[in-house]
Amino acid sequence: MQRVDEGAGRLSRFRSLFAPLPMLQRVEERWFWFFIAPFLVGFLLFAFAPLIASFALSFMEWNLRGTPTLVGFDNYADLADFDGKGKVVLKAFSNTVMITVVAVPMQLIIGLTFALLLNQKVKGMALFRMAFYLPTVVAGVATAALWRWILGSEGLVNKALEVIGVAGPAWFNEPESVRWGIIFMLIWAGTGGMTLIFLAGLQQISKDILEACECDGAGRFQRFFSITLPLLSPTLFFNLVIGLIGGLSLFTETYVVSGGGGGPANESMSVALLIYRLLIRNLDFGFGSAVAWLLTAVVVLLTIVNFRLSKRWVFYDN
């Protein structure tokens, strides 16, 4: 995406930002801003002001009554106070990270596997695809009831475990198992979306390239790893980024499972749930905003790292 020679030093690159552009580039630039315009308007109207306001609030103390009082870095200091207010923040982060680190790779692997499975020429494929996408779609208002049925003390999963002689825990009611229950929910509900995206990516890969390789006698596995996977890398990258962001922003599942409480014993407290509770239940807008910005910082950093690393392994057909 950069027109500037990669070999140029930073300073000359910086300077070149202000150098007059050749005509074609200027025209292209204007088109760019034209196409981006709707997003910019939306961003300014709906995101910018609230973002600024919430950032400002993180340096204040406010419970919706009267005017906020400036407290400087107190809220941020509280984040690190692991015996006091910071204890639950630490717990929330550790829960969220653990769940993300386990669930997202599973979603990716399973999603890709399913997409490969669904990319075959088999009769009735449309029906199969619908079935595979059902989990993502099915929940809605009935989520809580549904998951109690799947992961209750004598729910579907435990009954299945019984068959192989394992006694399953009371998933959502025992502190040790509640996070695993949530991971299960995430894999179940999130894989469908990834599958679909992988599928679209797979179908985009030109038949010509694949057939050419079959001519040359390459085996199926070799074909997969040296041709398909690299061509699929933009899609994989997208799913990875979105998966990680989604994992770190985990809210709905924890809310449904704990009734909004984050229990038992804060074991199902995700960072987003904590923010929600701080803002809406405790009316602690100052501290809540600080936690929100901490989460944002973490996610931003992670995404930047992702994008930087992507240069090494993502292959765009340019």
């Binding site: 002001a49 600024i52 306001a53 950032f55 400002a56 609030l57 204040m60 406010w62 419970n63 919706l64 009554r65 009267g66 005017t67 906020p68 015996d83 006091g84 207010k85 204890k87 639950v88 109690r148 209750g152 003390s153 004598e154 729910g155 825990p169 009371a170 959502f172 009611n173 025992e174 502190p175 409480g261 984050g262 229990g263 038992p264 014993a265 804060n266 509770r277 809406i280 239940r281 405790n282 009316l283 602690d284």
Partner: protein, 442 residues
Amino acid sequence: MKGTSWRRAAAAALAAGLLVAACGGSSESPAASSELTTDPVTLTIQIYNAGGQAELEYRQAQGADFTALHPNVTIKIVQSSEYIDALLPQVVAGTAGDVLWTDTDTGFTQFAVAGAFEPLDSFIQADGYDLSPYPEALLKSFQLDGSQMVMPNSVLPFNFVYYNKDIFKAAGVAEPTSDWTIAEFVDAARKTTDKSKKRFGVSLAWTEQYVAWMRMYGCELSNDDSAATEYTYNGAGCAESLQTLDDLSREAVMNWEPGAKFGGLSAADSAGEQNFSAGNVAMLISGTWEAPAIIANSAGAFEWDAVSVPVEGNGKIQGAASGFGVSASSQNKAWAWEYVKFLTDIEGQKRDAIAGYNSSPISVVLDDVYCKTDLLPLSKCEITKIGNAHIALEPIKGEWSAGFWDVVSAGFEEAFTADEQYDWQAHLDALVEQSTTAAPLQ
């Protein structure tokens, strides 16, 4: 792109923050006249969806009755199921309507602290409104910093112990009466438990009922004293009550969620009425509203009745109170007050009691209406009287901290689900310290 724009950014941030604050705080009261205008007025009444469509229609009919008395006033009812989530943004934006329902369990604290309600003291004084029928404790639970925020309309004591007569008979335990002791209660629970049949002696319908359990032993959770600097939930009776509860939970006598690890949660993951109706629990501790569901769901499979939770010494009974208040963002506060009175005075409570929408804090209503209806074949009247007589409700203590509650609930859950049983006294001491740090009293 340095110095000046940093300052500009900071100024913008401050401005934005103040903008939110200014728009957010309670709007200046519009001509707060105590004059009742004769111009056409529409009052919006916000209620919580507790009774579904039936309740909506009932409240609408109630509004129509008011309009019959005051033709220039139209009543519009808005029903929300996620009450706090839906209303809080409205409160902040100043568009919350004219009359708000509230409940000590469902957001009164947050709404009061957020400035959702218009203090009623001036209205009460101007009208010379008689508050004597309302019990002191009830009025207090709806005050903030001494100001009356809400008029109570109903109180629900959670002291109903529904018991399965068949199970008691089979276990050879005498049926309970409302004057029984805690020891008898605990004993009965143990005797009617049958682990092999996955049958429990007693159910606590929801986890936070440990508060009710603690109160039964006379433990006080918070205090009235606005000068206090320490939380009081490790006073007399507290450790003992929690120790007993923990024992029962680990013995799988008590059917509730924290007991899941020890076999103390039903197969259906239900600690509520459903499990009682299915005949798996000898006693269910809950409130009066369970009865119709039990009748419907048990469908005559066993005989049952109810008594009050044992009341001994300083023991108190947990309950929730609900009521209506005038919204601070109302444009017609005088009329809103009239409607609040309409809903919560003796006549209003009688109507709600007959329709089945409340228990009542006013003894006159209790005796005249409640105890005279025979909607249910239970000694509901007696139990309610006991409940009302010993009820304890949370007073708001200054900036009541939900933060304190977060520490307590997490700490309790941790202890109840720990592999090894905790020493509750030591644990309570530690929690008090922790909550005082995390949520300092002011």
